[in-house]
Amino acid sequence: MKALDLKLLRDLWRMRGQALAIALVLAAATATFVLSLGVHRSLTETRDAYYARNHFADIFAEMTRAPRNIVARVAAIPGVQRAEGVIQQYASLDMPGRNIPVRALVNSVDEHGHDRLNLVTLREGRMPRPGASREVVVDEAFAEANALGPGDEIDAIIYGSRLRLRIVGVGLAPNFIYSLAPGDIIPDNSRFGVFWMGEKALEAATDRKEAINALSLTLEKGASDADVIRKVDTLLAPYGGTGAYGREDHLSHAFLDNELMQLDAMTEVIPPVFLLVATFLVYIVLGRMIRTERTQIGLLKAFGYSDLAIASHYLKFALAIAVVAAVAGSLAGVWMGQAMTRLYAEYYRFPFLEYRNSPVVFLGAAMLSFGAAALGALAGMRAAARLSPAVAMSPPPPPVYRAGMVERFGTAAGFTAIGYMITRHIARWPWRSAITVLGVALSMGLLFATLQFLDSSRAMLDSYFFRAQRQDLTVTFTEPRNEDVLYELAQLPGVLRVEPARGVPVKLHFGNRMERTAIESATGDAQLSARIDGEGKAIALPVAGLMLSRQMADKLGVHAGDRVFVELLGGRQTKSVLPVAGIVDEFVGERVYAAQATLERITRDASPAGSALLRIDPAARDGLLARLKDMPQVLGVTERDAAMNKFEEMIDDNLYTMLFFYVGFASAIAVGVVYNSARILFSERANELATLRVLGYYRSEVGLVLLGELALLVAAAVPVGCILGYWLAQVMTAMFSSDLFRLPFAPTRATYGYSILVILASAALTALAVARRVLRLDMVRVLKARE
């Protein structure tokens, strides 16, 4: 081994603490990079493999009722590979000991196993047999939540008549990875299940002989989905078709996609922060190293080492750290990625799991790590290369301190000599001080942005559940109803107020953009629902025209005053042009609203209500739910409080796990930055500190000189961290917002407090650990050696 390389190894060993601190930050960058890309890729591939294996369809359509032979006509559309029709029927379940309404979506399956699309994967038991009239397969989440399995029986009310269903199997399907009861906005597996029942049995139970109400199809390679959708819509129009749609509008698929998008966002925000900090750290550590090794550098050059050899010696130092970081970070990333993928896969109940990470990801991670280290080393390398041997071997010019701002301020503040020592040192190394401040501030910002996520989600929930949704219960009807049922509901004991909720499915066209949605409406005197804007203000329905949520307006690209083309779906297929009267900054969903009169003009009818909003007397809740459960018109009941609890559970599960990691990551940055600054400070000041000890300063007082400077820098990092966090949080909320919801920026005071606290604590602990070295200082030896 060459002598210079030997020096490299010794240097690395001597500076192992600092090298490790840098490696820690770099490894965190690599780990998050490998982690999120790995999880993203694994989940995407698992999902795609699942889709492929179970033949998840490309296009979906629902209608009121169509003869089964329509399937052949759909299949004949050019570009369609295969089409299959099914019956989908909601059922109320009467489960012993449960007085809350439980619902199921019953899907028909071919008893002879001829289905080829959206196949069920059996986890237990078998599929329904031909001729069996009451056999069902239930989805696994529902079975687990209700402790059900093959052999158990459930009483169901399907299409008005009571039927005792017998569970013969437990299964999963690619079109119900994520499932929602109508009226719900969050899955509740104990209250909603997906069932599969023999086609003939379901035809008989729902009085739909040789008829279907839903179909799905796959496309041939290269076929245009827009063309096919248009043709399917034309075919289904006479049968109350509500508009065919692709995967991107399919509830289960869209939700999964949203989750994957958030993983992507994580990759884009987090690793760059770490990389930046690591670059800074390499910069200051190498800078210091080269200053202390001037004489050695001069000597080596005098011996005939080239500038390039010297520069590459220091580059190797940085790269050695990067190698360790890339390897450790990749290993950690794979390990965390596997655990996280497993968690996700369990959550989504993928029938199998493939953890995948491509070599490209590791290569990318290594490149990032190397790049950051090399960039940080650049300034030091240049300084080392430029140093002329003669200059380098003469003792370094003594650090020049000048009277400046510090003096004026210090005199005014009545500084002690120690006070001047601290402040002048900071002013003497402005870059390094700034980098320490920035590094600590970045770690705080990262923490702040993560914590703000909780605030943001809570603010969204608050806006949605407490301001927009003021009803206690949402009662969904089996089919749209007129006013009679509202009166009936109002008569039930404990019901304080009833309001109808109407929604008609439409397609909105603007320019060449199109969105499938439903226009929602409320009566003029509605109290139980409101549209809440970003400031928390309720926005009234426009007298004429439509009101769009911000998400929907952005998707269509419309502004207030634009005119959109409205195509009514299902039943009467009317077309009209309506102005956009306003846009409301809502957080949840892409929605369209209109006044009741406007809606009736579009439908040319007194439009019936699909559901009703109820305010109830809490004391009467149990009795009321039992009564609702037995009403034949009632398909289901959504309780606002239960939904909100579910939401909070989900936030707690997902975000707190994430938070746990990020608190660790952010602390790692703070620790890395503070540790390196402290070590450099300590080595620069060993002489001064020893002198103070000789002069009779106590260890605690000497420690103060060291810690005082760090404390000042960390204190300066707090406001900077708040600003960075504020900005980072805004970037992150914007990136994490999706079609499903938009996150508000709403940091609470506690979030400021916690991020400051965690960072101060990490900084303090690190600084104290380094300060312990001051206590072990060998005064005599330090003073004997000339600096």
Binding site: P399, T416, A417, H425, T691, L695, G696
Partner: protein, 234 residues
Amino acid sequence: MELAFRGSALGKVYRTGETEVHALRGVDLEIRTGELLVLLGPSGSGKSTLLNIIGGLDRPTSGELHYGGTDLVGLNDRELTRFRRANIGFIFQFYNLIPSLTAEENVRLVTDIADRPMEPGEALALVGLAERANHYPAQLSGGEQQRVAVARAIAKQPGVLLCDEPTGALDSKTGIRVLETLAKANRELGTTVAIITHNVGIAAMAQRVLHFLDGRIARTEINENPVDPQAISW
């Protein structure tokens, strides 16, 4: 005459791994209050070790050491620090000034924590640097820096000044100026002064000279007529 230090059978063993270095092998000494003492001897003979032990920077491995009525061997680190703070002024070969502090501020470093210090300006005036008070170490010559170090050491009016080769890095002219300030402190403030040196000539200014050899005091020489530093042949 009153005794400042009384040490008996002082031993110091440095252990580095397997090897043991006996830096002091049973030193008996008395230092009288107000005397000016010079420690002479070849390099490695244990002079610095003794001075550091006397000054409370280090502890003997064996033997006894008293300062006035205080048993120095029994003191813990904090007590030793308090002892230094109250009684000892150090001067080293390398001046060990704080580069970020001006001459006056370097002196204030001591007056900030001393019990009955003089004004920093007064201490600088004593070493003849009153007009350089606002200069940083980098703006002073080596001799001037060492005089600031002397001013810093005497500013708290210590009982004892311990100087380890104070002129080691200086030429004769500036070295003599530094020695003059030490003699002046001894004369005018009554400070006990101990000076380590290689330079045999310097011994002429001492009242007593301790000759070191191999971790022991080989010989004590009493100088009836100490000379003024000006008269030293360098």
